[in-house]
Subunit: 394 residues, 2 copies
């Protein structure tokens, strides 16, 4: 066969729903020489990484580690470990990832009780409260904190509190939240929380940080049936990621990806969580002001908007895919398409981690203006950047 040429990716600016721009320090860290996954120096690095993950999640949970696979596997890790056949799980569904949670419950042999909210709306706490009353035998409540498919933010603190009042464990998806908005695992009292690396951590995709409370860890240890996934069984994984220098081989850790996450967490903590959250809010306000000045609308109402993921309604009659293609080809700028119910109806513009800067906001606004104008879409022009500047100055 013909051997392919070495792959040199084109220059891109990543403002979709993830991956976001990966920080050059993270890229460089991933290229450091691979060492053994049981090397004492590597084990020391794992301990540091775990401590930094605990800081990022705001938790002291001992069972805190990166699953060796993407965010979807982090989700599956939480469900496969906490849901046993026959268990009733209340799943709040207001987008693609809530539906994926329901799918996970079913595949674990659980019974899913779905609490539906419209796409683009946050989870309604009253509906959860009603479901908890109607299903006193529910064991787990699962919801998405930051719905990547819609840009809606749910009130994690309230949802966790309701679940706890009814004696339920909680599974919380913070894939798009972590590093962009407050995630307070211990203050909320959440039980199993998973995230991804390729959103506001600005690390390469491929790992899923998870953290389990002592209650959740106890539930895993006390299971009646083995976890159906050997690879994701935390009873086994903890032998490798556990305390102290004595590590038991479970699977070969993705060494270089972990170098990258270690560096990404350093960057996050150097900035400080509060400052990172403030930066996401600030640039979101500028982007929003610019988009609105252009005559575009955000799909989510103001009080439920995620700063890091902006769903923007596609104007009537505009070929949304052609706009994305033009942005990519002419400016190297990636924004995201709508998913599921919102396919064809919105663009998803990410402002995540290293992709959340003044520079990104300005490029996005001016490139989008130029492309829409070229396509003959009549919008007020030239005001977007001004509006963004005014927002920053405010």
């Amino acid at each position: 066969m013909a051997i392919a040429a070495s792959f040199h990716p084109p220059r891109r600016v990543l403002m979709g729903p993830g991956p976001s721009d990966v920080h050059p320090r993270v890229l460089e860290a991933m290229a450091r020489p691979t060492i053994g996954h049981l090397d004492p120096e590597f084990v020391r690095m794992m301990d540091e990484l775990k401590a930094m993950l605990q800081a990022a999640f705001r938790t002291e949970n001992r069972l805190t580690l990166p699953v060796s696979a993407p965010g979807s596997a982090g989700m599956e890790c939480c469900f496969a470990n906490l849901v046993e056949p026959g268990d009733k799980v209340i799943v709040c569904r207001n987008g693609v990832f809530g539906e994926r949670m329901r799918e996970n419950v079913v595949r674990c042999g659980g019974e899913a009780v779905v609490v539906d909210d419209p796409w683009g709306e946050p989870v309604d706490p009253q509906k959860l409260a009603d479901a908890l009353k109607a299903h006193p035998d529910a064991k787990v409540v699962a919801f998405v904190h930051a719905e990547t498919s819609t840009g809606a933010r749910s009130d994690a603190e309230t949802l966790v509190r309701l679940a706890r009042e009814h004696g339920c464990l909680t599974i919380v998806d913070t894939v798009t939240a972590l590093g962009g908005i407050p995630v307070e695992v211990d203050a909320w009292g959440a039980d199993a929380v998973y995230a991804g690396t390729q959103k506001c951590l600005s690390c390469a995709p491929g790992l899923a940080p998870v953290t389990f409370s002592e209650r959740a860890a106890e539930r895993v240890r006390a299971r009646r049936s083995p976890v159906q996934s050997w690879f994701l069984d935390l009873n086994l994984v903890m032998g490798y990621w556990g305390e102290g220098a004595r590590r038991t081989y479970h699977h070969t850790a993705p060494v270089n990806a972990l170098y990258g996450l270690h560096e990404a967490l350093r960057i996050l903590l150097e900035e400080g969580l509060e400052k990172a959250w403030a930066r996401h809010r600030r640039h979101h306000e500028a982007l929003r002001a610019g988009l609105e000045a252009m005559g575009l609308e955000l799909a989510v109402r103001p009080e439920a908007r995620l700063p890091q993921l902006n769903a923007v309604r596609v104007p009537e009659g505009v070929d949304e895919a052609a706009v994305r293609r033009a942005l990519l080809e002419r400016f190297g700028l990636e924004i995201g398409a709508g998913l599921g119910d919102l396919a064809g109806k919105v663009w998803r513009i990410g402002l995540m981690g290293a992709s959340c800067t003044e520079r990104h906001v300005l490029l996005c606004l001016s490139a989008l203006e130029a492309v829409l104008a070229d396509m003959g879409v009549r919008l007020p022009r030239g005001e977007a950047v001004e509006a963004a500047r005014a927002a920053w100055a405010a």
Copy 2:
């Protein structure tokens, strides 16, 4: 919290059971800027990667792709997709990974019939033939081609033929085999074959190449029950890795890890599979000659030895962990410990991919001689390197 310093790994030479030394070209490729997992240029790279994987596996199977997680998840992908509750699976067990296969069968709700062979021995085809006769209702036969825990090589061609004569599908572990010894998926007629990236491909750990025959793919499509893992469900994964430019989002691909695998496959195919296999044989013979000249014994009989993974008996009275520690601290050289039944009884010396060179053999022999001498182990000295040189010259 105190933020950890950036992690700079110590200089190591990796001659354990994997990871092996990662080629600098692969490290550099992984550091290239992340682009979107749905970017047209990324999709083109995926097609190239798939074609190169097919070449490496010697198959035309369309369902050939890297699972976004380590080798253990590749194993689980094969079992979770092919084994349904109640299915009878014959598992040949002659080491750690055969036992892990049995565990996978059970966790998928299957019934495992175990065919045991001693650790260090290859799978006995006669025992498999007997089991196939005794269990005419078996649906799948699973075995490990290259047992990483013992260094024994089984006769994959014969085992697959026997299974097929009885109408069974086969699941074959080639994690340590691929790139080091012949893996002939189509010529054998194997059905579900998985590998790892961190052995003879000399890529970073974290991905698991898999390939499924059309028969196996048909079995997956015709399942009575959904695959219990959403993340590993090939019916869904294929929407992303399928033919043509139209890709459906399933999970976010580990973009940079895939850059690395793309480059690692280029390196393998530039050398050529036959030449790579010959290189592994040649340096194995030199290592073996050197070890024997030192008075050490290999644990596996000659006709069943894997060139890329050499299990060496620890001499009576020697503290095997102290030897490994001294090799690591004094020479930066990593060799592996024994696993399971062989813990404390053998060292495992890998000669895999980029770690299979004349330089590696010489370092290993001379470092081992020096460390054993310092520990007062009485062995003939100074002859190991000579014996290796003689083997190369032969």
